[in-house]
Amino acid sequence: MNTEAMSLQDFRGKLREMSVDIPGRDLTDDDRVRRAKRAFAQKLNGHRAVDMDTCLQCGMCAEACHFYEATQDERYAPVYKFRPLRRFYRREMSPMRWFYRAFTRDITVADLKEWQHLVYDACTGCGRCDMICPMGIKISAAIRVMRHGLAGAGFVPSEMRIIRDEQRDKNTLFGVGAEQLKALVQKLGAEGINVPLDREQADVMLLTTAIEVLLFPDAFAATAKILNKAGADWTIRSDAFEAANVGIITGDDPTMILAIRRIVEKANAIGAKTVLMPESGHAYQTLRWEGANEMGERLSFDVISIAEFVAAEVEAGRLSLKTQSNGASVTYHDPCRLSRKGGVTQQPRDVLTALGLEVRETTSNQRENYCCGGGCGEFVLKSAADLRQKAFEIKKHEIDETGADAVVTGCSNCRVNLMIGADNSGWQTPVTSLVETVAANLAD
Amino acid sequence: MSSLDTIPVTTEVATGNVEPLLHEIRHALKRLAEGKEGTVIDLKRLPLAPGEEERIAATLGTGEVRADVDALGPTLIQETSYPGVWLITHKNADEVVVARFIEVTYIPELLRSQQADIDAGINRLENELKN
């Protein structure tokens, strides 16, 4: 395929352009602390309380964190990243708050400023620390509450604010809206790839992301080919195609709920039985696991990822693949929100095996997998560039150790991060996507 | 008293004090042989299990000298099978043991005739001769 894509360099230029310090909300220090606490209070529940009350401060989580491993900076110990939340919990929400209040200090606006770096720049929410914790504490969930608190206090980094505002106010991301999607669909139509756009009724509603439209139109085209090949009754809606959710990334609830609602309402309107998530980890996690909870009611459709879809279709015999026999090997990079947090771990491996590829596992794989280094919107932050690159080096090292010919991943966000990292370090191993690999090997 | 023996209480315990005591005796003998002072050990000061005192006596055995002293009740002075080690048992007039010592020496002090007794003896003998 030769669908015209934005070059990586152009995209990086676009990110650099975004990296301007736009003025945030004008809030007094007291206001910020008050709002942060209010946001914490909104999210604290029994689960978080048990977590906060169980932490032993053993520090093992640091050993799971790529940012700590890359820098040996003790501030990047995951346990430390939710310290203000724990402080707030202990002082104001915990059963023994009267006791703790006598011995601990209150959180301050200086804390919030400091933690902006720790929870936005130095955490991709990958949840690897959740897996090492001997107490089973969901550290990443606590850090997510931290982002929520900082968002409430107006401490979202400006790059993230720009894209959040864009999604909330214009329903576009990186300038990609209905027009851009329509243009792509048209172009694909000219290439003979039919994309049933804006159907009023369909069983399957496909979503995509701005990143795909901009950078990886081939992946979008591949998805369309697979759906067509499988004979699915599908559509993609130009008014609700964006799977990415900047609200959940920034910790901004209204934006998160707005973005979810746009999808859910449209899926309900067209009677979709399935909402098919593109290669985007956080998008899958958001709709699959948070959607119903944030909407307050069970979803009337199933949410499945394209990897699950392909695996199921192959198994059901509706999709047949050409099996390669050239001994090519790949390693699969697990997007944290798809595997560790989403449970989609085996399906992509089954698909790659079905393609006749040798799947070589990195030392840390599946639920213990290392993050690409730029998840959870981190890749837009200029201030995190160094950290991101260092974390990428760990991933790169593990991939190199496998000796695999290529890296396949199931998340366009991971993919762009790995490509930026490779670009920075002159790394040559090709990074590709699962759907593209599948689409290139569809049996006739 | 024989009925006490029918009570089925047995003790096969060792306090662990017997062996150190024997070592102490060995060291005392060496010191004595080097021309240093003798040693007296008070057996009542040691916590010993029932039967252990007898075990000590049996281990030491009996040697060549045995002396019965009749002074304020009977006292048995027995050289053990280890020359220089003496077992001294003081009893009162009712034959009850009032003290028991192990003395490491060439000759126990109590066996020597005492100066005061010799003086008293001279007096008595002189009185005898006068009459």
């Binding site: 029994g46 689960h47 169980t54 949410v303 | -």
Partner: protein
Amino acid sequence: MTLLEFASGPGLQWALWIFVFGITWRVVGAVFLLSRKDISKPRHTNTISAGLGAVWSRSSPAHAFEKKIRFQHVTGYAWHFALFISVLFFAPHILFFESLLGFSWPHLPNTIILITSIIATAVLIALLIRRATHPVQRFISNADDYISIFVVLVPLLTGILAFAHFGARYETLLAVHLLSVEVMLIWFPFGKLMHMIMTMPARFQAGTAFGRRGVKA
């Protein structure tokens, strides 16, 4: 009233009351905050067994992690085993528990208890040193971390001294040992010693949360 009489009487009673009161206060207060029921469609529905699985599996970290935390892994096991053997299988301790619970269980020879208690003490001191020197642990530690180690270390030390009848009269050692245990009981609900109660529920809730997503916790 002698020190020992206080320690084995009113001191013990008050410590136990505070212990029980504090634990129920903290556990009920945390759990009763409640969490909204997760209404997302579960991938696996048998979340109970996933929860129980996590209670078990979190005792042995995945291989990729174990290499990096071997010291804590090994010392963690050594510490807890040595401590529980020393606490639960020393004959006088069993008598102590029996006087509260009304039943008893077989004890282990004192030599084994002495060894385990020395191991426990040594490991705890090693953990204390690590906490004070390891960059991450030193950085994240607060008063609770040190107090909690201290209130457990002192009963161990006084226990060993009482066992050996060393340093003071036995009744004084025993009283100090009991008092140190009472201090520990009183501190227990307020600090992180609570993990003894909370670990299983925390692991269980992690197991169920991951389990319904089809992820092995």
